[in-house]
Symmetry: C2
Subunit: 213 residues, 2 copies
Amino acid sequence: MTGMTRAIPPATVARLPAYRQALIDADAAGQRILPSAELAAAVGGNPDQVRKDLSFLATRGIRGVGYEVAPLVDELSRILGLTEERNVVLVGAGNLGRALAAYDGFTPRGFRLVAVLDVDAAVVGSEVGGIVVTHLDGLAEVVRRLEVAVGVVAVPAHAAQGVVDLLVAAGLDAVLNFAPVHVRAPEHVAVRSVDLSTELQMLSFHRTRGSLV
Amino acid sequence: MTGMTRAIPPATVARLPAYRQALIDADAAGQRILPSAELAAAVGGNPDQVRKDLSFLATRGIRGVGYEVAPLVDELSRILGLTEERNVVLVGAGNLGRALAAYDGFTPRGFRLVAVLDVDAAVVGSEVGGIVVTHLDGLAEVVRRLEVAVGVVAVPAHAAQGVVDLLVAAGLDAVLNFAPVHVRAPEHVAVRSVDLSTELQMLSFHRTRGSLV
DNA sequence: TTCTGTGAACAGATTCACAGCA
DNA sequence: TGCTGTGAATCTGTTCACAGAA
């Protein structure tokens, strides 16, 4: 029963993972039905927005009651491509890369780190997060053999574009970039960047507001 | 010469760190003047948007030529509160916390990690990134003594809200949260969240687009 | 009665188009 | 002539308001 869904706006997509997690938490707490107000409270939004967002999905709520948790989680999982594990390859085994590999923030929700690559002979061969670091030269082969879906870039800024180019050449169409530079990629490749420094600077801006010397 | 600046829209603020970095890079490459088209290329935006964004600042470009790099970097630094070092405290010395401490993504641009705290007796006393981990109990004192400006939360999801409450109680008004949950804070406190899992799920969504089974 | 679903109103962000200065 | 600066137009996202099902 896959109802017709309108195209989902980006702003809504960005909130779907949070809804899904909140619903999973509610389910674990024994809640089988959740009204939009409670879902909103869990993710820090407002009920109007939750209902508008969910109106883009096929699953309908029950008027006067709320949303059935289980089917909604199912649909969100399907939409977000989490019905089966997705393999992730990490390039860069420096401080940040090793951290990401050790951090189990990938694992819990459908993503599995299957390879870590680097160019530095000093780290190739070492183990990190239970995975032996291999040389970047083997990227294309690794991506093909392990059916990798997402590439994570944790190399210095000056090396990031080159790595993205390699990932794209290897056939990947989803890249998560932690290097603090803008990286270019073809139209069909989805790139998201996470930059700690930018986040800190936005927080820092908050303090100066209204008191620009 | 602090010209009057209109209130800067959030969407613009989010791009200012990237402009600043691109300008610093250009300066290092010997560029003293940069037209909006080049700045746009560097950050992956378009020239119209760059000009609109910069129109909220006091620094004006030179028609027919471009923007003078040095004064623009200065103004951006001032607006983003980067004219002096800002001290950062990190709570959580698990995998992610240790990673963030070791990673020198803080340091390069005006932020200095000055303390790492945790509640786990197993890690308190150990050293990470050149800093000895102390017990969370000492938070308020550390924040006061070291004049901390920003708190970074790298604890498990279930502990995140409690830590944020402690940071707020200690007087901080800027929090960067890496735990994959929404955290509440009073109006005057700026909170930004970075969630790896959400980023991966948004990338994963990209693949399913158009082919919702 | 309660809470969903959604058009309508509103607000914010981006893009366009062009006037104006170096 | 080239590029900035900025209103106007457009597009996107959020909030409002209320009709309608359980």
